[in-house]
């Protein structure tokens, strides 16, 4: 394993400092924590939004802290949920008197640690609500098990909840909007190469030169099935059919899409994949109104990509297009 780092133990702490150094106009660190909050905080009386999870998904989550999106991001160790005390610091930093929404991805560790933090916050009189993103259609949904994972669809939840909160919506309204996105957003990913967790030092799995993992999450874990590599249009179709069947989508639908790189896959390939999504949706009588192509929710240096689809109505479109100003996503630049 080769990484640009001083040591696995200090990697996250140093990266948190490095993010502040890289984005000082956006981010400040809650001293003694791995919590990053806005430099220019929201006016009092607005709902705060906290997200977080293990590190290794950059730009998630600190990359989305800023105007129009999050108020605080809490970073755990690599691929490890943050601890409740750190999440509590995030909640406190995001609280401007109108309550705090926590956006949690559906992983046992995240859900439980955010739950404990929420209990601590409520005990301190901070009003909170939790939404749990579970957009990954690779995993069967079932109330008898852990259910689906949360992956890149989380970014749409951040954007839409963030835009609403910025407009002054109440905690209940922001929570309901986030849950509405969660009810409709679906994603699925595939990996061409694994990643290496710095502390562990060895790749999380190995693939032959012609093999891919279908249905991977964002923690380096193997997917649901090993398959042969195929041309981009077949890979795109496989992901889109699974997503579309699950929703289900129909001709006439308007869609927003995230073509998300998992880490090592170049934009050159992601752009090609975006083209396949566009062709596929056209062929199915759908309209792709919004496409975000790039790295939004990564899995260290894993090679691969995920696709996310969200059926749109006017209100969702407006919220997705609303201005935002964060390290990783900026919209609404004023021209002269």
């Amino acid at each position: 394993m080769k990484k640009i780092m001083n040591s696995p133990d200090t990697l996250v702490a140093e990266a948190v400092e490095g993010l502040v150094i890289s984005f000082p106009q956006y981010l400040k660190q809650v001293p003694g924590t791995h919590v990053l909050t806005r430099v220019h905080s929201k006016p009092a009386g607005r709902v705060g939004i906290v997200s977080g999870g293990g590190s290794g998904h950059e730009p998630a989550h600190a990359g989305y802290v800023g105007y129009g999106m999050l108020d605080a991001a809490v970073a755990g160790e690599v691929f490890t949920s943050p601890t409740p005390d750190q999440i509590l610091e995030g909640i406190k930093a995001a609280n401007h008197g109108a309550g705090v929404l926590m956006v949690v991805k559906n992983y046992t560790g995240d859900v439980m640690n955010f739950d404990i933090a929420r209990e601590l916050a409520e005990a301190q009189g901070i009003h909170t609500a939790t939404v749990v993103v579970n957009d990954d259609v690779a995993v069967e949904n079932s109330s008898f098990t852990t259910g689906r994972r949360g992956i890149a669809g989380t970014i749409f939840v951040h954007k839409i909840a963030g835009a609403l909160a910025e407009q002054g919506a109440s905690l209940a309204e922001v929570e309901a909007a986030a849950n509405n996105v969660i009810a409709h957003v679906r994603s699925m990913g595939l990996a061409l190469e694994p990643c290496t967790v710095p502390e562990a030092g060895a790749p999380t799995f190995t693939l032959a030169d012609d093999e891919i993992e279908m249905g991977v999450g964002i923690h380096g874990e193997p997917g649901i099935e090993r398959q042969k590599i195929r041309p981009a249009h077949e890979l795109a179709a496989a992901l889109l059919e699974k997503i579309s069947g699950d929703l289900p989508l129909k001709s006439g639908d308007h869609l927003a899409c995230i073509v998300n790189g998992l880490g090592a896959t170049p934009l050159l390939e992601l752009a090609g994949l975006a083209r396949e999504v566009s062709l596929w949706t056209q062929n199915h009588g759908m309209t792709l109104d919004i496409v975000w192509t790039g790295e939004f929710m990564t899995s260290l240096e894993m090679a691969g990509a995920s696709l996310t689809l969200l059926p749109l109505d006017e209100s969702l479109t407006g919220l997705l297009q609303a201005p935002c100003d964060t390290p990783a996503l900026r919209q609404g630049v004023a021209h002269d």
């Binding site: 160790e77 490890t80 949920s81 601890t83 439980m112 852990t146 967790v197 193997p222 649901i224």
Partner: protein, 209 residues
């Protein structure tokens, strides 16, 4: 159990976590995210540090210190489960230097119930509970008839087998559940670290006989 024994248990578990860190990561790599060893080791080294630098004076205080330390250093599923489980158990331990066998059994029972409540897993879901449920059930049953010091070592000796028995199971909770049928054939890392904990408990109780 005395507070000294209890402290000894956690120091032993700290050593076990360090020695088995790679192995636990390896198990977690197969069906999870390769960090269970790192997580437990990070937490337990901090616990060992605290136990050495300023050992809490009572069983309750020790248990609460371990709980809070794990809660704030481990993260992940195991941090939340061990942390909130021990926090609940600390309320059963007396604020004294020692407790009787039934209290020990009750504390462990509370630890397990709290984990069940927090994580919603049941027996056979391929989690740490597949070690803790049978172990605490046996303990609760047998502690009525014999001293914990003689009851626990044989239970502890079984723990490794319970952990290994998770291999054929289909994971229903935790990260491994996302793998569906592909989780079959691998031993659960959390069950394995739980067996290490029982091994330590067995040693500590056995030597205090």
């Amino acid at each position: 159990m005395t507070n000294a024994d209890f402290r000894q248990l956690w120091l032993c578990f700290g050593q076990a976590a360090a020695q088995n860190k790679e192995e636990l990561n390896r198990l977690d790599a197969a069906i999870g995210d390769a960090d269970h060893g790192t997580n437990m080791d990070r937490g337990m080294q901090k616990v060992a540090e605290q136990l050495t630098s300023c050992p809490p004076p009572t069983l309750q205080a020790t248990c609460k210190m371990v709980a809070m330390t794990l809660l704030s250093t481990v993260g992940g599923a195991s941090g939340a489960l061990w942390g909130s489980g021990l926090l609940a158990a600390s309320k059963v331990f007396p604020d004294m230097d020692s407790c009787d066998d039934k209290t020990l059994a009750a504390a462990l029972q509370t630890f397990v119930s709290s984990i069940q409540q927090r994580g919603k897993a049941v027996a056979g879901d391929k989690t740490m509970l597949d070690v803790f449920l049978p172990a605490t059930a046996e303990l609760s049953q047998e502690v009525d008839h014999a001293p914990a010091a003689s009851v626990i070592p044989p239970i502890a000796a079984e723990a490794k087998q319970w952990a290994e028995a998770t291999a054929p199971l289909l994971a229903k909770r935790g990260r491994a559940a996302y793998l569906g049928a592909r989780s079959i054939g691998h031993i659960d890392p959390g069950a394995t670290s739980s067996a290490l904990w029982w091994d330590c408990l067995g040693r500590v109780m056995g030597s205090s006989k």
